[in-house]
Amino acid sequence: MNAPEPAIVAPNRITGETLLEVRAITLRFGGVEALKNISFDIMEGEIRAIIGPNGAGKSSMLNVISGFYHPQEGEVWFRGQRRAPLRPHQIARQGIARTFQNIALFKGMSTLDNIMTGRLTKMRRNMAWQALWKGPAEREEYEHREAVEKIIDFLEIQHIRKKPVGALPYGLQKRVELGRALAAEPNLLLLDEPMAGMNVEEKEDMSRFILDVNDEFGTTIALIEHDMGVVMDLSDRVVVLDYGRKIGDGPPDAVRQDQTVIDAYLGVAHE
């Protein structure tokens, strides 16, 4: 289409404040160095992509941020404070939520219930109250259900609200997983290959949802993605990894023209 672009006011969602920073991270598995001296930052409100060929250390990096891996060297700074090694659920309570490369949903449960599990960190009443399901626990459940329904509406998955997720097509399962991450109302959302295995139409839908999440809720997003076209369209800044080293960092256009990056990755990919 050659129609003129709709007039869109430049977004002022990026505040310029650093939300999370990794400093000189080195991660080893036995003798293998998965990450070597990696440093970069994620600014509040931006969409930050981590790209690189297979085995470059992208997922390891995400796992360090989400607290699943503890690096041997280096520091993670979150909201201006150095983060002590934490368990993943503690990190979740700090406002970091994620999706997984291989979908990790409860296959026998409905879409609604799966997203509801994302509210776990927000539940105030203990299990005894929940089991009793009277008074405050009941009121609380209504609040959570409302939050979940808003996500269902946002992601346009009303029609699968009560379907078991195991029976859903792949693209929809990915959307449900995004929904569960959103249910935690995160400040930082980590997406591990949100568009892997999708067709063009599903990719476009998912891109729109990612942009809308960022736009509507002001959520900072860090994502790993293979599809270069998608990454370049979506992200504000890109980190490029290769064999555990950082070889590029900057806006998509700059990264695209960086000779090191082209040599390592883009130039030899498929052309």
């Binding site: 289409m1 129609a3 003129p4 709709p6 007039a7 869109i8 006011v9 430049a10 977004p11 259900r145 409302e146 329904e149 808003k150 269902i152 509406d153 946002f154 346009e156 009303q158 029609h159 609200r161 139409e201 476009e204 729109r208 942009l211 809308d212 736009d215 509507e216």
Partner: protein
Amino acid sequence: MGEIGLSDAAPEQARRAAMSATGEDSGVTAHSDGLDTFPRLLDHNAAHRGDRPASREKAFGIWQSWTWAAVREEVRALAMGLRDLGARPGDRVAIIGANRPHLYWAMVAAQSAGCVPVPVYQDSVADEIAYVLEHAGATLAVVEDQEQVDKVLSVRDRLPLLRHLVYVDPRGLRNYDHATLHAYHTVQAEGRAKAPLHEAEIARIVAAQRGDDTCVMLYTSGTTGKPKGVVLSNDNILMTSRASASFDGLRESDAILAYLPMAWVGDFIFSMGQAYVTGFCVCCPESAETMLADLREVGPTYFFAPPRIFETLLTTVMIRMEDASALKRRLFHHFIAHAKRVGPDLLDGRPVGFLDRLWWRVGAALVYGPLKNTLGMSRIRVGYTAGEAIGPEIFQFYRALGVNLKQLYGQTEASVFITQQPDGAVRADTVGVPSPGVEVRIGPNGEVYYRSPGVFVEYYKNAEATAETKDAEGWVATGDAGFFEEATGHLRIIDRAKDVGRLRSGALFAPKYVENKLKFYPDIKEVVSFGHDRDAVTAFVNIDLDSVGAWAERNNIGYASYQELAAHPLVYAKIQAQIEEANRSIACDPMLAGCQVKRFLILHKELDPDDGEMTRTMKVRRRIIAERYGALIEALNSDAAEVFADIAVTYEDGRTGRIAATLEIRDAAVVAVTPAQGVAA
């Protein structure tokens, strides 16, 4: 394709030219009470049934309701807001989006401000929207969401008259330039804030409106050429709504599900006209995908659906029954067979034996009741289907269950109703008797003409087309060929008058008649047949992916795509058997026996409105198909056993591509009728 009147083809029918019929006059009365516009009806409903539900919408998983009093407040606030944006009497206001209470209110709000609402099909591409908005000269548009806003903005340079755009759903629009873009609720808030400025003026406009003022402009989907703007007056819509509501005894406790396009005249009559006249509740589904679940939750008492929906529902039921346990399957088939035998008689009040009655009750408890509940049809008092012919099997299935499904025949130009079936006289192959207040006659060439209070005012800015369609006495040509059954007085429609043609042998060829026979098979989704000026009838077939796919799965036939399944030899064999069965049935009607399909192919892509092959209401556009698939039609009429097809396609996002394949052509056995007709195999 030339204009082929039925006069050459069926002289016998020409002799019936004088025959005509008129519907009862009951129900069509002038509005002595002054309730002849939507804004005044809204005031009346707010005053007399203010606490009854008027609109419902499922949002965030819960049904939200608005009473008539609440709707009046919403409409008034928006009307004042639109006035504040510069809407003035006579302006056209485009409404684009799926069925939402807010968009229905916007139509009445526009009317309250003296404007004419112009609903537009929500799945139109930007270019189609540009045409309608430009032609109507719309100055304002009220749209549903970002998708529609993007479409309108992308063609904004073609719409110099369009001043403001109002959207209902703010999602994704936060960073758009809001100089001429407004949120629905802010327009309402602005309207409320400036009430002193606009209230009196709106009251004056509403009081001054008359029955013959324009109520709405509806663009016909147009099987040929560009869409035409049909201008309908308040009297057209409201007199027709009153008459049809009393014909079926509609009342304020009724409920309907509004899910068909708002730009379609039927939705305007059902969800606006009849709702405002009788005060019943209009429920909007959560999204297009949840329609069937919402149908079940709403349990409408009055329901309209095109045959396609009834077909889809039945196919779903049948596929699920195939997968059910043996006991359930036997129970289902036994009781459905019983229902088919006695159900329609019970529904029409004809005598049925005591034991049959008793057994029907057992069936109702075990099968019919639960099935109707699953389909959302437990409460239906009046159900209608129209638009296309419905398969007798499908039609009888629902009637057998006790669903009062009837047929009607209508047009945008008639404000829907031309003929409809009264309770107790319902059949699959007729479209009923003339509706109250409608006169129908058959022209010398077999074409159906009508005259009624619902007859449209004009085609907007197209006096020539108006004159071609409507004569000085108000008779409107339908473009359909049909005849009245002498015994019952019911009208039967055979085809579009201009589509009826002749084979080279001279035999009559009615493409729609052939296609409908074939489309009654669940495996066949769409058929396009060719035969005019040809030696034999040939056809393109589109398979139904759900039905054939389920069959393939049960029979371990692997396929990766629609294209692969469509080309599978076993699928070809299955379709061939169905065509040959249809041929035997066509051969029974001596007048149309020449219409048997001699050669066919299965298309490798579905016919699609995005490619212009079908209208937005899913009717095939013969001329465009004949142009796009010319080479395939020639191959069908040769001896070739296969043909290479390379077709340009448009994807939903507007990009284009090509789909190429080599398609097999098969011969189907035809029944020899008389050698003279030259169609015997």
